[in-house]
């Protein structure tokens, strides 16, 4: 059988298994093993199958993942979300759409620390949606705002997704974090613009709320201090040269625990729960990483990524056309695959092709992550939408999807900006001399 036929069979088999509800990790590992054996014989394939999990399990660069997850698990138990929402509301108070913008601002900051879009959306659906509905906001718009703002978590540093991308693409994590800053803040700003547009077109959906007094605004704004400290340790500590990414994650997780205990927001029981959640989440992610590395060993053996990149260059396809295909691919995958799997499965194939048309691995990491934020709110399996629906079963899922549309448009505006002006990504890393 030819290499092409084996590749097509294995990719088709992988998709069939994934749609048959087989865990993604097992589907990747199984098809990767079979494909590798078909190309290079069972002896080498089995040897690779036994060694890859060991190599990954003791890879120091992966230690950043459980530590950032722990920091997020502690932050989401430490009452930080409500205080942050009140602080953000104080900042935007008095303008039309203030509560929706407060949701976006607080989700951006909380999500940066929490790292999980689903956890951020679930947390803020309890805090922000009742408040918006109480003030007469349209339920669909309120839920859509939270679902969309929750997705900022995967882009704004420190992001677990970028940490995983850095491992699969062999790119510097500090550089990726620096590169994600401007697009992350820009995306949050575009979401704010989306709120203003909706407020202008449909003011009945976004009523004006009375402004807070200055003293009350200042008091509420102080509520940001906890996340400010965590952000300082988790991100700025790296650029000040104090910590490596793993050390920053460990220091920030430790400081999160100290703050949560010192403010009485957390006890030993909650700490044990946070550690359990960290262990369970890490194991599920790690198993997919193992499966994806086994599958990517097979893909590398096929030389498909290089052949594809060379074919694209030789065919003289315009870079814009290639990027449109890549956008369509990630949009499609985002409708049914989770963001970790999307990155682990596709990057070994798409990165060489995108490199071939002049985009570097750092830019592509940010681009793919933005595409993942779109997948998180795209039907039929927008995960943050489901997280909100689970908390507010009275809001139909189709209405939540409708509520996300203005923000989906904002996401695509950012995708266009990234392609038109790649310097948005490169600017901060070059300013920092990276």
């Amino acid at each position: 059988m030819s290499v092409a036929a084996i590749t097509i069979l294995c990719v088709a088999g992988l998709l069939a298994l994934i749609f048959a509800r087989v865990p993604i990790a097992i589907a990747l590992a199984g098809t990767g093993l079979l494909g590798y054996a078909a190309l290079d014989g069972w002896a080498k394939a089995l040897k690779m199958f036994g060694v890859v999990p060991f190599q990954l399990a003791s890879a120091y660069s992966l230690s950043v993942v459980p530590l950032f997850i722990l920091m997020g698990a502690v932050a989401s138990r430490g009452n930080m979300a409500k205080e942050l929402f009140e602080a953000s509301n104080a900042v935007f108070s008095g303008i039309r759409g203030a509560l929706a913008n407060a949701t976006i601002g607080s989700c951006a900051m909380f999500g940066a620390i929490c790292g999980s879009s689903i956890a951020t959306a679930a947390t803020f659906s309890k805090v922000a949606i009742p408040e918006m509905r109480r003030h007469g906001y349209d339920s669909a718009f309120a839920a859509g705002a939270v679902a969309s703002a929750g997705t900022l978590a995967v882009l704004i540093p420190p992001s677990v997704l970028l940490a995983i991308y850095s491992i699969v693409a062999e790119e510097s994590l500090p550089k990726l974090y620096a590169a994600a800053f401007v697009p992350g803040i820009l995306l949050a700003a575009l979401h704010v613009v989306a709120v203003f547009v909706v407020a202008r077109v449909r003011p009945d959906r976004v009523p004006r709320v009375a402004a807070m007094k200055l003293a009350a605004r200042l008091r509420a704004a102080v509520g940001m201090w906890k996340l400010g400290i965590l952000f300082f340790f988790a991100v700025f500590g790296i650029y000040l040269g104090w910590f490596s990414p793993t050390e920053a994650a460990a220091a920030a997780a430790f400081v999160a625990i100290v703050i949560a205990f010192a403010t009485g927001a957390m006890g030993w029981r909650e700490l044990v729960d946070a550690l359990l959640e960290t262990a369970y989440t890490t194991a599920a992610i790690f198993f997919i990483v193992v499966g994806a590395f086994i599958f990517s060993r097979f893909i590398v053996l096929t030389q498909f990524p290089n052949v594809l990149a060379q074919w694209v260059l030789a065919a003289g396809v315009r870079p814009v056309s290639i990027m449109l295909v890549v956008i369509a691919l990630y949009f499609l995958l985002g409708t049914f695959l989770d963001e970790v799997s999307t990155i682990l499965i596709t990057v070994p194939v798409t990165l060489p092709m995108v490199n071939g048309i002049g985009f570097d691995g750092i830019w592509f990491g940010i681009f793919v992550t933005v595409m993942c934020t779109i997948g998180l709110i795209s039907p039929p399996t927008g995960m943050t939408v489901f997280a909100i629906q689970a908390q507010h079963p009275e809001i139909p899922v189709t209405r939540i999807y409708l509520g996300t549309l203005p923000f989906l448009a904002a996401d695509f505006v950012l995708v266009g900006l990234l392609i038109a002006a790649p310097s948005l990504v490169a600017w901060l890393p070059s300013l920092l001399g990276m």
């Binding site: 298994l17 994934i18 749609f19 048959a20 509800r21 087989v22 865990p23 993604i24 990790a25 097992i26 590992a29 199984g30 093993l33 089995l46 040897k47 199958f49 036994g50 060694v51 999990p53 060991f54 399990a57 003791s58 890879a59 120091y60 992966l62 230690s63 459980p66 530590l67 722990l70 104090w242 910590f243 793993t246 050390e247 460990a250 220091a251 997780a253 430790f254 044990v272 550690l275 359990l276 960290t278 262990a279 369970y280 890490t282 194991a283 599920a284 992610i285 790690f286 198993f287 997919i288 049914f336 695959l337 989770d338 970790v340 799997s341 039929p380 399996t381």
Partner: protein, 160 residues
């Protein structure tokens, strides 16, 4: 059976969680010692790597026992009656994948022991790193076997 499964999952989670906590504390102590006394903990990278292997692999059986794998569950809405069967088939595939990994890992670990592989800084035998990896794989394979053999009623009890 259901209670035993839940306890086994928690036990795996506790041990793995303790390893994450140890990883965090060790790294923080290393940072503090390095900053205040210019005396970092020798071989801290290697200990963190060992704890990492423990946390990943010792929590893996819990992923099976808690049925918490990342899956695409679009079929749940289309063919809900087939879902219990698909779950059992998935668990059986999990047994096969993990058993193969453990078998090949065992062979690689034996080679490592024969060649006397050690770490760079602390000269720890590499076999110490293989132990949690193999233990996790074998227990996870057993956990997957339990899930493959579990009836739909058992699973529903778990979900409740």
């Amino acid at each position: 059976m259901t209670r035993l499964r839940a306890f086994a999952a928690k036990l795996c989670g506790w041990v793995a969680g303790a390893c994450v906590a140890a990883m965090m504390l060790l790294t923080v102590v290393d940072i503090v010692l390095r900053a205040l006394a210019s005396k970092p903990i020798p071989g801290v990278f290697e200990i963190v790597e060992l704890l990492l292997a423990c946390s990943f692999f010792l929590a893996l059986p819990a992923t099976f026992l808690r049925d918490e794998h990342i899956v695409v569950d679009m079929i749940d809405g289309m063919a809900p009656r087939q879902v219990p069967l698909l779950k059992r088939i998935s668990a059986a595939l999990g047994v096969a994948v993990l058993a193969l990994m453990a078998w090949q890992g065992w062979i690689a670990a034996k080679d490592s022991l024969i060649f006397g592989d050690v770490t760079f800084d602390l000269s720890l035998s590499r076999i110490i790193y293989w132990i949690p990896v193999l233990a996790g794989m074998i227990v996870a394979a057993l956990a997957a076997l339990v899930m493959a053999a579990s009836s739909d009623a058992d699973r529903r009890k778990d979900d409740a």
